[in-house]
């Protein structure tokens, strides 16, 4: 029998606010242990939480960017459980009235992954286990998170991978999170079940907690899919449990001991008040959202005639697309800019992190000047490419590398002389061309371009050569 994978995601995303969710300590990553702490975030008796306005705003932005409805009335609840990384023995979260509900993210295969809810909550501290002892650092305690919960809408690991990438991309675009999985600012819990293909009942699911790389997510899902199919095929039943994925062995294992009873006793946090969001506020926030990557990508394809794949590369990171948008201002052919970014600049900005920051020595304005010269037929594409490399090396504008003699191309008599030289010097190529080998013309063209040091207009050379040979 064939089995279908059914999976849903719960993704924790750390918000890039300046301060924690309920106190004014910094959210900066790193720092010496227990130096980003105050009485509130270590839960000293008598302290009280005060909600960071920006957290609510960022969560609403995340909701709008994923097509959610924003709740007019929301509230904060306590999720009670004891663990050394949780200083108050409860996590302040949202239970039955989350800020955002009923959204979706559309995948490239056209399927919509439905988002059940997005709520705000606080992060826990960090535990370090060494020689059997536990060391606790509360620097991360109280850092604001949004939890994005999907319906069980995934049917393949490809869909899962695309969803996580899209989610990352959207959150970075709207500037609410850097979504760095390796730093833990984005973590995924994945629930998985399998069912016979064609069935529409849900099987018993397991949940794999806290995965911090896309590759691990995919591997864990593949492993867990196989494992569950195995269990069922051997006549067994999948047990509902929480699992941990070990990437060294590529296996999952059960996580909870029996001492961890699972009853969170949610109730409204009496220390915090109601969150009301008017429709006007929602519209105000909507206006501040940048053009989202999916919309932008479609526009690049439609308006600028940029190939789908290139448009996707340009829009993957907000900074890149912003660079592109600035560079093409007033140009006739944005595609040239796109080619230069993807062909030349990306070779120097290799890692994902660097692309995200996109700190390039050539400013969009300088790139625009260079492309403008091509459009005005002042220089040739090849020369422009070489010039761009020099610009990237030095950070200087193109005028530094293009002297008077490079400009204006080559005049007609000079061109004729160069073509004559090429024809005379390559009788074989001329003969081949005359014999019907179109390609032979290219070596003659190359010869002329070399003589002109790239300044000649290839179109004009080509026409001249054909005219002279015939």
């Amino acid at each position: 029998m064939k089995y279908e994978l059914v999976s849903g995601f719960e993704t924790h995303v750390e918000l890039s606010t300046n301060t924690k969710i309920f106190c004014s300590c910094t959210t900066q990553f790193g720092g010496e242990p227990n130096t980003h702490c105050c009485p509130v975030c270590i839960g000293l008796p008598g302290t009280l939480p005060k909600l960071n306005r920006q957290v609510v705003k960022y969560a609403i932005m995340a909701g709008l960017a994923t097509n959610c409805e924003i709740a007019e009335v929301a509230k904060m609840d306590r999720k009670n459980y004891c663990y050394p990384d949780l200083p108050k023995a409860y996590q302040i979260s949202e239970y039955d009235k989350p800020l955002c509900e009923h959204g979706y993210i559309q995948l490239s295969n056209g399927r919509k992954i439905r988002i059940l809810r997005i709520h705000i909550e606080e992060d826990a501290g960090k535990l370090i286990h060494a020689h059997g002892d536990t060391y606790v650092d509360y620097n991360r305690g109280g850092v604001p998170l949004i939890e994005i919960v999907t319906e069980p809408d995934f049917r393949s690991t490809d869909e899962a991978r695309e969803y996580v990438e899209k989610l990352q991309q959207i959150m970075r675009y709207i500037g609410v999170s850097d979504c760095r999985m390796q730093e833990g600012s984005m973590r995924c819990d994945v629930n998985i079940s399998v069912r016979p293909e064609g069935s529409d009942e849900l099987g018993t699911r397991t949940e794999i907690k806290n995965m911090n790389s896309i590759n691990n997510i995919v591997k864990a899902m593949e492993y867990e899919y196989e494992r569950q199919v195995d269990v069922i095929e051997n006549g067994g039943k999948v047990t509902q449990e929480t699992l941990r994925y070990d990437d060294a062995t590529n296996t999952t294992s059960s996580m909870r001991g029996k001492e961890d009873a699972n009853d969170y006793r949610y109730f409204r946090d009496p220390d915090l008040v109601t969150i009301l969001t008017s429709r006007e506020e929602v519209e105000e926030i909507r206006k501040t959202l940048p053009e989202l990557p999916a919309v932008k990508q479609a526009r690049y394809v439609d308006e600028y005639d940029i190939p789908e794949k290139d448009a996707s590369l340009l829009t993957k990171y907000r900074k890149v697309s912003e660079y592109f948008d600035e560079a093409i201002e007033g140009l006739k052919n944005p595609k040239t800019v796109s080619n230069f970014i993807i062909g030349s600049i990306f070779r120097r900005v290799e890692t994902e992190k660097d692309k995200e920051a996109f700190d390039v020595s050539v400013s969009p304005k300088h790139l625009r000047e260079l492309v403008k010269m091509i459009e005005d037929k002042k220089i040739q594409n090849n020369l422009a490419k070489k010039t761009l490399e020099k610009m990237l090396d030095t950070g200087k504008p193109c005028t530094e590398f293009i002297d008077e003699s490079d400009l204006g191309g080559v005049d007609d008599s000079a061109l004729e002389q160069m073509c004559k030289n090429a024809i005379d010097g390559n009788p074989n190529a001329v003969a081949d061309y005359k014999g019907g080998k179109e390609k032979a013309l290219m070596s003659l063209l190359g010869n002329v371009m070399k003589q002109s040091r790239g300044k000649a207009d290839a179109q004009a050379v080509r026409a001249k050569l054909i005219e002279m040979i015939n």
């Binding site: 009485p39 270590i42 839960g43 000293l44 008796p45 008598g46 302290t47 009280l48 939480p49 005060k50 909600l51 306590r78 009670n80 004891c82 050394p84 200083p87 108050k88 023995a89 409860y90 536990t134 606790v136 001492e259 009853d263 006793r265 949610y266 109730f267 009496p270 220390d271 915090l272 008040v273």
Partner: protein, 485 residues
């Protein structure tokens, strides 16, 4: 006359130096605290240092504020930087906070002289102060009786003149009940009038800090000083309107006093008599009395215990031996350490309330208990709204009886819960109420009544209470103890 004003005048007129005054109090604490057990931590060095500062100011001829140089005490659930704050629980022994409660920040800023921290029921859970890890506080009228609770230490100290005034907290009557038992004044402010920041939480939606004083005027002065909006407390609103002291004009002519019959049910005869006599006093002062029913009050007590314990079970989860306070000595693994620390560190009453709170919030019981209690809380709020459409304030006994004998309260938990019947509705509805002495029983133990006002109407109830105090001064009796000014 106001105790605070009397002391202020003595300081300003140089009848006594602040240091001498403070020493007097410290000496009397030394003399009587063994018997009263009002203080659990006396802070003479800090008190004398502050007194010297005040004397230096006076010496230079500078003006001082009304509370400046006046000694006082704080219930031991108010966070005091560098001064041990235990909630009278083993689990917080040795805990020296690294921050101040907002109320102490304010009073310290006004130049108050803190004599020490006073006794209370463990985590404010109790009605006699006897659940304290340090043993119960005694009643200054008769030390065989308890001072009440949970702010029993403050009431005992103020009643015994070993503190001119103090701050307590009131979750279900913990300011008013001990004030009533000790024959003094206790004000539970409107929820939100005084910042809770730094008050170690018992039940966050019910807790409120307020003054325990000798006179109504004193309560007004202290309330004015501590009732301010605090950006650290999301539920804080501060006092609304003028300082209450400005409106103590004793004019209550034409005021309507409401009496809900439910408040008089099950109240001991001597208490009822005293309260009804007080009503007569009000009538003689020109007030009008109306009677009505508030049927939803009969659910107040279970509603209170369900909500308070639910919140407490969550608030007290943090005592796990990792960040502060007591930690079990022997254990095996982190989970075992947390359970042992809590099992050894909490007393029986605290454990009972944590268990009840956990029960009413747990899966399968939440709707029947916690959710239903919240719904009834709304009904009680409405009942009071309706009452205040008919009257200016509600008059009721503070406690259905007088101070119990030591040892009585701890024997039967449920019976003890019943004694909170008159005080808890005010906390459920977030209202202000002031308890004032209104008589004595045959054994000479004080009886108290409370005036319950609409939200943020502290000025109105304090004015009415003050008018009563002036009309019936015989109910405000001195005890044999402490500093005689």
């Amino acid at each position: 006359m106001s105790e605070i004003k009397k002391i202020h005048d003595m300081l300003v007129s140089k009848q006594i130096s602040c240091k001498e005054l403070t020493e007097k109090y410290l000496t009397e604490i030394e003399n009587s605290n063994k018997e009263l057990n009002a203080y659990v931590n006396v802070t003479p060095d800090a008190a004398l240092a502050q007194a010297e500062k005040v004397d230096a100011k006076l010496g230079k001829g500078e003006e001082i504020g009304l509370l400046e140089g006046v000694p006082m005490t704080l219930k031991d659930n108010l966070s005091t930087k560098g001064i041990e704050t235990t909630c009278c629980s083993k689990i917080l022994t040795g805990y020296k906070p690294i921050y101040n409660a907002t109320v102490w920040e304010k009073l310290e800023g006004e130049g108050a002289v803190l004599l020490g921290k006073t006794n209370m029921d463990e985590f404010a859970m109790g009605s006699s102060s006897e659940t304290s890890y340090f043993g119960g506080a005694a009643n200054p009228f008769n030390t065989k009786h308890c001072a009440g609770g949970s702010s029993g230490g403050v009431a005992s100290a103020v009643g015994a003149n070993i503190a001119p005034y103090g701050l307590g907290s009131d979750t279900g009557g913990s300011i008013r009940q001990p004030a009533s038992f000790c024959g003094i004044v206790g004000l539970k402010p409107t929820y939100g009038a005084v910042s809770r920041y730094g008050l170690i939480a018992y039940a966050s939606s019910l807790d409120q800090i307020g003054p325990i004083t000798k006179t109504v005027e004193d309560a007004s002065i202290v309330f004015d000083a501590i009732s301010d909006y605090d950006p650290k407390d999301s539920t804080s609103q501060g006092r609304k309107g003028e300082p209450t002291y400005n409106s103590l004009n004793n004019d209550i002519k034409g005021m309507k006093i409401g009496i809900a019959r439910e408040y008089l049910e099950g109240v001991r005869d001597d208490v009822k008599e005293a309260v009804l006599a007080a009503v007569k006093v009000y009538e003689s002062l020109g007030a009008e009395v109306i009677y009505f029913d508030m049927p939803s009050l009969k659910y107040a007590l279970p509603v209170y215990y369900i909500i308070a314990c639910a919140e407490a079970s969550s608030n007290l989860g943090r005592y796990d031996g990792i960040r502060y306070g007591f930690k079990a000595e022997h254990y095996n693994g982190t989970h075992d350490m947390m359970c042992r620390t809590r099992s050894e560190g909490f007393g029986d009453e605290v454990k009972r309330r944590i268990l009840l709170g956990t029960y009413v919030l747990s899966a399968g019981y939440y709707d029947a208990y916690y959710k239903k209690a919240q719904n009834l809380r709304g009904a009680i709020v409405k009942a009071f709204d309706e009452a205040f459409s008919k009257c200016d304030f509600v008059l009721a006994p503070t406690v259905p009886m007088t101070a119990f004998e030591m040892g009585h309260a701890v024997s039967d938990p449920v019976e003890t819960y019943l004694t909170d019947i008159c005080t808890v509705p005010v906390n459920i509805a977030g209202l202000p109420a002031v308890s004032v002495p209104c008589g004595f029983n045959a054994d000479g133990m004080p009886i108290g009544m409370q005036l319950i006002g609409n939200k943020f109407n502290e000025a109105k109830i304090l004015n009415a209470a003050n008018a009563y105090e002036k009309a019936a001064p015989e109910n405000f009796k001195e005890t044999k103890w402490g500093v005689k000014l």
